[in-house]
């Protein structure tokens, strides 16, 4: 509706700090992945594992935060942000196109992974499911994700968060450079 340009890093970065600081001032803290544990607890996973037997009601505020982020995504995508591609670096465009992601450089998200056709492609469904499993398993093992470790943890100068962020990059670089080039052409 408003056709705004995407925010550059020097707007988006400080806005994230603002949210982190505001949550601290209200007595909470920024960290999204702990919600995955809370959701499993609500679904009854506590019957099968101790990890999910905790006072999840104390985490309700974080689910409210997540609900807000969903609305925020909708508001930004459908009302604020101009439709159009993510302006990617040239090497990213050529490398992804060579792997069969033809809309690299002309779309915001690849239609091959996030388009409506996905539901009729079992291999894509498996890939998204498996990728999601790694996100859930990994963030709980590391006890935090990008927001918990890279933002909240590093901001409070904690070594474990630095180790975790190094881990994020070891895993991500391996997949992007050595595994996706083998898998993406199959989709």
């Amino acid at each position: 509706m408003f056709h705004l340009s995407p925010w550059p890093w020097y707007v988006a970065g400080p806005a994230i700090t603002f949210v982190m600081a505001a949550l601290l001032l209200t007595g909470k803290r920024l960290g999204l992945s702990s919600n995955l544990r809370t959701m499993c607890s609500i679904a009854g996973a506590g019957k099968l594992a101790d990890y999910f037997r905790f006072d999840w009601k104390s985490q309700t505020w974080n689910l409210v935060f997540v609900a807000g982020t969903v609305l925020g995504g909708a508001v930004a995508r459908f009302l604020l942000l101009a439709p159009g591609p993510a302006a990617l670096g040239p090497d990213t465009v050529s490398q992804l196109q060579a792997m069969g992601i033809e809309d690299a450089g002309t779309a915001f998200n690849p239609v091959l992974l996030f388009g409506t056709d996905v539901w009729s492609h079992p291999l894509t469904i498996l890939l998204l499911l498996f990728g999601g499993m790694l996100v859930g398993f990994g963030t709980r093992w590391a006890n935090g994700c990008t927001s918990g470790h890279a933002i909240s943890g590093l901001s409070s100068l904690q070594w474990p968060s630095l180790i975790a962020v190094v881990g994020f990059f070891i895993g991500g670089l391996t997949i992007t450079h050595f595994v996706l080039p083998l898998i993406l052409p199959l989709l």
């Binding site: 007595g27 990617l88 499911l129 996100v135 927001s147 997949i175």
Partner: protein
């Protein structure tokens, strides 16, 4: 709670306007082909450090006059390095960390629901096997 919800909305808007929920931007980051994501995380972290240092120096408190709820991670390295690497792999495949998983759904990229189901499944499996993992 309304304040928390509004902060969530702001967070969702920020990660969408900053294109942090774009799968392409995550690939570009891991290909070292743009400063964008490093700028976002670096600026957020740098200002965050500044905020925490000022808070400590001037003894800032929450609105209920309590100390900030800063999570203190247990010492160690295995769970952070190995768990972090597993998450990093998923971040590259799905193009989404836990925040963007939910924000992307709001932004209308509905198949991300499959990755959300996967993330809940992965969390559940972690809960089952956590005692056997190095921590």
């Amino acid at each position: 709670m309304p304040v928390i919800f509004i902060l969530g909305v702001l967070f969702g808007i920020t990660l969408t306007m900053g294109e942090i929920i774009s799968w392409f931007r995550i690939q570009e980051m891991f290909l070292f082909d743009s400063f964008h994501m490093y700028g976002v995380i670096g600026a957020a972290m740098g200002l965050g450090i500044l905020f925490n240092l000022l808070a400590r120096k001037f003894d800032w408190k929450t609105r209920n006059r309590r100390p900030f709820d800063i999570y203190q991670y247990e010492a160690g390295w295995k769970r952070y390095l190995f768990g972090g690497a597993v998450f990093g792999m998923g971040w590259s495949i799905t193009g989404a960390c836990p925040g963007p998983l939910f924000i992307s759904f709001g932004a209308g990229y509905v198949p991300v629901l499959i990755a959300i189901v996967g993330a809940l499944l992965g969390t559940f499996i972690y809960g089952l096997v956590m005692r056997k993992l190095p921590s």
